[in-house]
Structures are given as structure tokens and as C-alpha cells.
């Protein structure tokens, strides 16, 4: 019974924790401009993140060490620096976007300027990272993030033309008024949002925090293979709400307030309360994860003592890194840059950095020295290679498409 509860909790937190500011904004932007014409990208992205997250969780559970520690040991410092540089910078950008997202969610609830909420949001993230237990911070934000299911409820309440939506999803087309390069630019952004590198590093380091062993592999698999796809359905619901309410009114999403308008239209103030709680939990949870990931990546690379399971005094550099990263993110936000813009760029740059993040994971999860008999099977390796191809194409095309389309304008 206890085991079943743990599995259910793991799946629920995986669903609630799947969506972050990048998913919220990118899916709403795409839904308002392309309808469900890019749903296929969410599917491709979800399969990809499932593939690499379960690989990375397996590496941690079997070897008892987090991915970054092994990457440096197995691939040498030069390859590890490339991996670290790409992952760390994207993570910092994502952290900035998430802290900005918390402030924007609080603005939706209070109409107080986000700039005033930002220091409080960063302080809140720091104090939780400093004081709260790993399992509590992960479970509470994940479960509260389930409030975002209100997007799926809202979609039903809106009584859309289901056959029309299905047609958009099944036979994707570039709508009139949009151009092919813009369509592909947003396809890459959506892919980057679904496969954000920090999710994999957090998952792997979290496995060490929670002391997973080979016995926990089935739970790890169910968290990923059930939780993430259901989280992906939430992403599709966000895009569908935007497609039903915003697209016919020619509203292109550029702010978080626009993302929630379809929910208010469908379910009134009660639904609005749920969606604001959900966004707050999703962004706060992701801010915690990205803050921790910044500490994990650096500490694991340099061989510092790390982890929430250690008292802060025993992992001082790990905690100091997180404080510095939070302050850097806050500094960027204080320049007055729009957090939504930071989000849009962070998902595209995520796509650029993907090969540097995922290739080492594929190599390590095939190394019998670390994995013993738990190396990847043929199917996983086949899919892994296909995904490396997709990731490489997305990575190479991202910047040229960003320039050609004026960042999707």
C-alpha cells in the first residue's frame, strides 16, 4: 500500500511539475497563432524527455552517482566543460524566467507591479531551498501544480468544435497570415520547452537526493512514462484553450495575463483562482528546480560536496552557487527586461544546447562500467539515435530561424 502511494505521488508530482513558464507561454503563443497545428511537436518532445529522463534516472539509480559526476569522469574535462557551459547558461536563463513568472503570477492575483514581487519571489525560492526537505519541496509544488488541470476542464467548458480541433492536430498546416519559417521557429521553441535540460539534471540529482537504488527503477519508470505524458496533455490543453478563445479574436499571446483569459471565459473566477494557484506552483516549483540544478551542475562538475540531504554547512559551495545564481537572475530581471521575452529566448536557446546535454547521457547509459547489465536496450538506443538526429537539426536551425523570423514576430 505504501509502495502504491509512493508511485501515485510520484506520478502526480511528475504531472504537476511537468509544466513550467516555458511550457505555459510557448504553448499559449503557439495555440493563439497556429491552433493545434504544432501539437505533433509536443508529442515528439514528450517522447524525447521521457526517453532521456528515464535514461538519466537509471544512470543515477544504478551507479549511485549523478549524471554530471560521471560525464566528467567518463568523457574528460573538455567535453564536460562544453556540457556544463551549455547546461548551466540555459539553466540560469530558465531560472530568471521562472522567478519572473512567479512575479507575473502574483501580479495576476494582486495587480501589483511584478518588479515589486521579484525580490520576494527570489527570497521565497532561496528560503525554501535552504530550509525545506527535498521531498516536501518537490511534492508540495508538484501537487499544487496539478491545479493547472483547470486548462483541460476549461477546454471542455468552452464546448469547442472537437472535429475542427482534431483536424488542426492531425493535418497540420501553416495558417493564413503566418509563414513557414515562423511555423518552424515555434516548432523548435516548443521542442526546446518540452525538453528543457534542467528537467533531466534535476531528475538525475533528485534520484541521488532520494537515495534511489536499482529497486526503485520501476517507480522511476512509471513517474516518467505516465507522469510526463499526462503533463504533456496539460500542455496541449493550454494550446487548445488559446486556439479556441484567442485565435478567432486574432490575439497573439505576449503576456501571462492573456494565457489565463480563456480559463476565465470558460470557468469564471473559480477557475481563475485555480489557474493562478497552478501557475504560481508551476513557476515556483520550476524556480526551485532550476536553482537546485544550478548548484547540482557546478558542484557535480567540480567535485564539491552537494545535496539537500546534507546540512548547508556541509555543502557550502553548493548553497553559495544557488544564492549567486538567484541574485544574477534577479539582477537580469531588474534591468526591466520582460520575463516573457526571457522565457521565449530561453526555450529557443535550450534547443540550441540540447545536443551538448543529451549526447553524454546516451553515451554513459551505454557504458557497462557504470551501468552493468542495466545498459540501454536496442529499442532505447535506436530511439536515442533518432532523437539525437532531431535534436541536432533543431539545434542547428534554431538561430538562423530566429534571425530570419525576427524571433517569431
Amino acid at each position: 500500500m505504501k509502495r502504491l502511494f509512493a508511485v501515485a505521488l510520484g506520478i502526480l508530482t511528475a504531472i504537476g511539475g511537468f509544466v513550467d513558464i516555458g511550457d505555459l507561454v510557448t504553448n499559449a503563443v503557439v495555440g493563439s497563432r497556429f491552433g493545434l497545428g504544432l501539437v505533433w511537436v509536443v508529442l515528439v518532445g514528450v517522447i524525447g524527455i521521457c526517453l532521456f529522463a528515464q535514461m538519466s534516472g537509471r544512470v543515477a539509480a544504478v551507479s549511485g552517482r549523478a549524471t554530471f559526476e560521471i560525464i566528467r569522469e567518463r568523457l574528460g574535462p573538455r567535453a564536460a566543460v562544453a556540457n556544463l557551459g551549455a547546461s548551466f547558461l540555459i539553466n540560469l536563463m530558465t531560472l530568471t524566467a521562472e522567478v519572473g513568472g512567479i512575479a507575473l503570477a502574483l501580479q495576476l492575483a494582486t495587480s501589483v507591479e511584478p518588479m515589486l514581487w521579484m525580490p520576494l519571489a527570489a527570497f521565497g525560492v532561496w528560503i525554501v531551498v535552504w530550509r525545506a526537505k527535498f521531498s516536501i519541496l518537490e511534492n508540495v509544488t508538484g501537487l499544487l501544480g496539478l491545479s493547472l488541470i483547470v486548462f483541460a476542464v476549461a477546454l471542455f467548458l468552452l464546448k469547442p468544435d472537437w472535429s475542427g480541433l482534431a483536424a488542426q492536430a492531425v493535418t497540420p498546416q501553416v495558417p493564413a497570415g503566418e509563414e513557414s519559417p515562423t511555423y518552424w521557429y515555434y516548432a523548435i521553441a516548443l521542442f526546446g520547452a518540452a525538453m528543457t535540460p534542467y528537467e533531466v539534471f534535476f531528475f538525475s540529482s533528485g534520484a541521488i537526493e532520494e537515495k534511489w537504488t536499482v529497486k526503485d527503477l520501476s517507480q522511476s519508470r512509471s513517474n516518467v512514462l505516465v507522469g510526463f505524458p499526462l503533463g504533456g496533455l496539460l500542455s496541449i490543453a493550454i494550446a487548445a484553450c488559446a486556439a479556441v478563445v484567442l485565435m478567432p479574436r486574432s490575439i497573439d499571446v505576449t503576456s501571462l495575463s492573456q494565457v489565463v483569459l480563456p480559463v476565465a471565459e470558460a470557468g469564471g473566477k473559480v477557475a481563475l483562482a485555480f489557474v493562478i494557484v497552478g501557475i504560481l506552483a508551476a513557476t515556483f516549483g520550476a524556480a526551485l528546480e532550476t536553482t537546485l540544478s544550478s548548484g547540482y551542475t557546478l558542484a557535480q562538475f567540480f567535485g564539491w560536496s552537494w545535496g539537500k540531504f546534507r546540512r548547508p554547512v556541509k555543502a557550502a559551495r553548493f548553497h553559495l552557487t544557488m544564492i549567486i545564481c538567484l541574485l544574477l537572475g534577479l539582477g537580469v530581471l531588474f534591468t526591466g527586461v520582460d520575463p516573457i521575452l526571457v522565457t521565449e529566448y530561453s526555450v529557443v536557446f535550450s534547443a540550441v544546447a540540447l545536443p551538448l546535454t543529451y549526447l553524454p547521457i546516451l553515451i554513459i547509459s551505454n557504458d557497462p562500467q557504470y551501468m552493468g547489465r542495466h545498459v540501454n536496450g536496442r529499442l532505447t538506443n535506436g530511439l536515442g539515435l533518432v532523437y539525437l538526429g532531431i535534436i541536432l537539426v533543431a539545434s542547428l536551425a534554431a538561430i538562423p530561424l530566429m534571425i530570419i523570423t525576427g524571433a517569431g514576430a
Binding site: 495576476l108 495587480s111 503576456s255 525576427g406 514576430a409
Partner: protein, 143 residues
């Protein structure tokens, strides 16, 4: 020139070509600004309609109108900074600026009505937003 230098030059040329493709013309900028403005006004209108139907909170309506104003201000700055060459471009620029200004006025007035809270004033504000959107769409369509 050795092979490595040739590859470097080819990459540089490709980037320059890309940048040249990515640079937008006056027409593109005006079209884009009008589209963004129309979207911002439509969004403000939807938020206000939801508030008058009591399905949205004051905080959401106020935030939405504030976001719409920020968007319109950005579009206005973009178009104002354009250097029009020739009479036709000047006319387009002026028409776009007039349209955007009507949007700024309508959203600003709607925000005032929101803080006053009079039902009839809000209904008028929704009508004014609709008119501003029509003006913006016409300015876009007239091009």
C-alpha cells in the same frame, strides 16, 4: 586561403546573408506593429468584457489592460522611429501611428473606467475598444 579559412569565410557569408534576410523593411515593421496593436486592443477588450460579465477579477482586468498599454507603447515607438522614404511610406507610417494612438487612447480610457467602476462607463469603454480595433485593422488592410 587554406581550407579552414575558406570554411570560416563561408560561414561568415552565410550569417551575413541571414542577417540581411532577417532585417525587416519599413512595410514589414508597420504591418507587424499594426498586428501587435490590434492583438493588444482585442486582448484588452476581451478582459474588459469578462470583467463586466463578472467572470474575471479586477486584478486580471487591470493587469490585462496594463499589458495591452505596454504592447501598444512598444508598437508606437517602433513605428515612430522608422525613417520613411517617399510619400507612400510616410502616409503608411502616419496611418499606422494614428491607428495605434486610437488604441492607446481607448485602452487608457478603459483603464480609467475600470478604476471608476461605473457599469455604463465600462460598456462604453468596450465599444471604444471595438472601434479602435476596427481602425487598426483598417489601417493594416489599407496597406
Amino acid at each position: 586561403m587554406n581550407a579552414r579559412a575558406k570554411v570560416g569565410a563561408a560561414i561568415l557569408a552565410a550569417w551575413i546573408a541571414l542577417l540581411a534576410t532577417g532585417c525587416s523593411s519599413t512595410t514589414d515593421t508597420v504591418d507587424q506593429a499594426l498586428r501587435e496593436s490590434s492583438s493588444a486592443v482585442a486582448s484588452a477588450r476581451l478582459a474588459l468584457e469578462l470583467y463586466t460579465r463578472d467572470t474575471a477579477t479586477l486584478a486580471l482586468a487591470d493587469t490585462s489592460l496594463g499589458d495591452a498599454l505596454t504592447e501598444l507603447d512598444g508598437a508606437q515607438s517602433e513605428v515612430s522611429e522608422l525613417e520613411a522614404t517617399g510619400a507612400s511610406e510616410s502616409r503608411d507610417k502616419q496611418r499606422a501611428l494614428d491607428g495605434i494612438r486610437s488604441g492607446v487612447d481607448a485602452v487608457g480610457a478603459a483603464r480609467e473606467q475600470l478604476s471608476n467602476g461605473s457599469a455604463s462607463g465600462l460598456a462604453d469603454a468596450v465599444d471604444a475598444l471595438e472601434a479602435a480595433q476596427t481602425t487598426l485593422d483598417a489601417a493594416g488592410g489599407a496597406r
